[in-house]
Amino acid sequence: MPTSEDLDLLRGTLDLLVLRTLSWGPAHGLAVLRWIERVTENRLQIEEGALYPALHRLEEKGWLAADWGFTEQNRKAKFYRLTARGRRQLTAELSKWSRYTHAVGLLLAADGSR
């Protein structure tokens, strides 16, 4: 179980991960989760159920759209896809992240001399 501090950090990260995942194409909740597990090598420990409020909230914001469809095994599932607004949001978030990590990188690389 993650601590509450972790959760706060996670929420923003989770949104970003979801948007990133769906940028490659529509997927249902379980597929999104599997991809996150794979890329984070199971190091992002969250309750799986927490994914769903996140998905629905992103839908509410208009970044995602949802439709019921069928999987390859012909099972009925709810598929999420990125909307145009979601794609713009992802781009903005990504550039924010890279600016942030760049700044942190510079900070850590500084050697203390003037």
Binding site: G29, L30, E48, G49, R57, R75, A77
Partner: protein, 905 residues
Amino acid sequence: MSTDPDTPLRRVFRLPAARSRVRDSVDAEFRFHLEGRVDELIAQGLSPREAEREAWRRFGDLDDYRRQACSIDEHIIREQRRMDLFDTLVRESRQALRSLSRNPGFTLIALLTLAIGIGATAAIFTLLDAVVLEPLPYAHADRLVTLTSPVPGVKPDARWNLATGEFFYFRKNSRSFDALGLWIATPVTVMGDGRGQHAERAMTALVSASLFDVLGLHPALGHLFTAADNVPRDPGGVVLAHDYWVRRFGSDPSVVGRSIDIGGAQVTVAGVLSSGAGLPDLHIDLWAPLHMDPAEEAHNQHTYHAIGRLKPGVTAQRAQAELAPLTARLPEALPSAYSASFMKGTGFSTAVTPLRDALVGEPVARALWILFSSVALVLLIAVANVANLFLVRIDAHRREMAVRGALGASRLHLALHSLAESMLLCSLAGLCAVGVAYAMLGAMLRLAPHDLPRLAEIHIGWPSILFTAALSLGAGAVFGLLPLAHSSMDVGALRDGSRGMTPSRHRRAVRSALVTAQVSLALVLLAAAGLMLRSFQRLREVQPGFDPRGVVTMSVALPYNRYDKYESVNAFYEQLAAQLRSLPGVTAVGMTQVLPLDGHDGCSSVFTDTPPTSSSERAACVPEGQVTPGYFEAMGIPVQGHIPDWLENDARTGGVVVSRALAQRFWPGESAIGKGIKGNGGQPPFYHIVGIAGDVRAEGLDRPAVEMVYFPMLPIPGAFLWSPPNQMTIAVRTRGVEPTSLTPAIRARLAEIDPQIPLADVEAMEVLVSRSMARTSFTMLLLGIAGAMALLLSAVGIYGVISYLVGQRHTEIGIRMALGARVSQVSAQIVKESLRMAALGVLVGVFAAVALMRVLGSLLFAVSPTDPVSLGSAAALLLAIALAASYAPARRAARVDPAQALRSD
């Protein structure tokens, strides 16, 4: 909220249903996740039971996540629904706008018709609301009443005001009132201050201190009077009206405590009233204490206006009932003023009337209600026209509507569609109507009789705006819902639509009925306008008893300190008359205390040296006043016998002129010349009658001529003549010049005699005459405008329906012509159709008019409410209009080419 999933309500209201759908959807999504995980774990080698437990563990608190997801989804759905509604509104409005702009002819005609109809109604409503409906601008206005004394024994409608003794008696003994006040208005002269401010006339209200309490008036500066100020011993102060303070004293607060010269007396300014505070409907500049002493012996002098504030919960009727026994005991309570025979002879009683009713009066309220009903009728006619236009459109859209209906659009949806259109149109019309109302009100106020009560309170405020909005939206709803009533959405339209669109008998009947109704309403309005026009004509034919042409009148008030004796007053007027007489263009000059048609309606008892036998004649109240020798000549009143000249006047020969009506009543069959008459008590000495003046309709052209006694300027020794006539109206007869152009010259001559006397109320006598007819001419004008609008709208209505019929029966006409009908026959049939509709409307209208015209009642003068000339001309006018309106459609029908008509469908 307990909701059983199977109640019918739940199926009707979509929200709970949506909530369960949300829940189902979230559950399905979670189930898919858990089942997928379980399958995956089994594949990794776990037993089904372990896999299931592991999947649930990894998922976490399912209930919590479900709650979160559901609440987000519900919010999404709510948002969506709101957006949908908004989208629908925007879409329908945009569509309506497009459809209206596609038919600019229809839109413009409907818009104009409605804007004028609604605007006119709103304008008259504003008048009615401000004058009749709105409460007076006082605190507790609903509890304010006036007290008057009907004296049917004196004259059938005569009402006297209160006397001071009576006032003190009522105040002491009645329990109906919170407060009771007295007032009387009198013009005074505020003297110049020698620093550039001229002497000027100011209207003063002499009031009991209690009147401020009755009306709830407060000072803005200083203080008001107290009861002590009303006692004659105390010189008292004066309170300035707010606007007078602003105008005359430049809003200088230091004026309080200063003394000003009023009519030669130094009076201290006690305070300034708050802005807007005043008497009902009388513009007052100054307020001074009315001097009245409870200790003084009571007089039978009913000259003071009384206003009372009823205790909460007490009605005017109850107060009147309480005052009745008190009034009956007046002879015992105040024996010096009232006797049993006086009470019996005059029929003296006390009436309590709500102040607003007393102020506005039944005839004015009636006239405004009649005008309001008239414009409401015009609006109905306008609405009928627009409804007809809408019906035509509905017919044109029948197929479109039927197709949309067949494709599944609900009845409600189709209604929404037409509602959006008519609402948009009517809202636009409402906006224009406010402008129309504003313009019309401005024009009306310029024409309105200047004695129309509460004129200053009239403006377009919230009530008028709300009224306009309600009318517009109401009209919008009526037109928008027409297609629902008009069964045009049946699929049958698809079947018969391909054939030649001959309108069904039913729809034709609806349209003819609308036109017939229009014509009958128009007839009622035209008949009313005609009756008013005839009244006005009759009124103009009335001989007023004097000749107003070339006469200019003005008033002066001599300050009491320097003009306190008959001699000095008389000398002043004699000198002024001589001075004015010498002006070029002036042919005669006279002064009078009582000018005809100036609204004065006072009277008092007269006594003769040969008392009439009947007591009712003796009690009769007669207007009387003093006049200077040139008066009859200046006013053009013919006099039989002799008119005293200045020499006789100054010699106090006591010659008096009486009106013919009075002479005939007192001395029927014999000459009144030489008979004795006087105004106060039956003891000699008497004045003697030397001349009989022609009768003058002094109280209004529509009222009978007054009986009048014209006394000389100086009393004969031993006979009383009230107080010296300080206030007089000057009549100057001119020839060859514009009468009012002499005003500067007259003012200059007056200043030569006494620079401290301002000239006031300068008015051409002809203006006073036309003003006295203003109520009739105003009502006539407005009814005439309403009638003209009704006529025009009816013409448009008839034209519209007839040309529609011709258009619809194109094929039929073609067939008939192909079968040998002559052009003239076809045209005649169209004209006949139009006349038939109009004749039916005229018939209904005549019956309605005969039944309704009685309400005009006292507004009419010398014309019967069922005057055949008015009714006949209204009917003829409408039939002529129907004939004219069918001319163009009939010609169009005559030009139908049979071959083309048969081919076109």
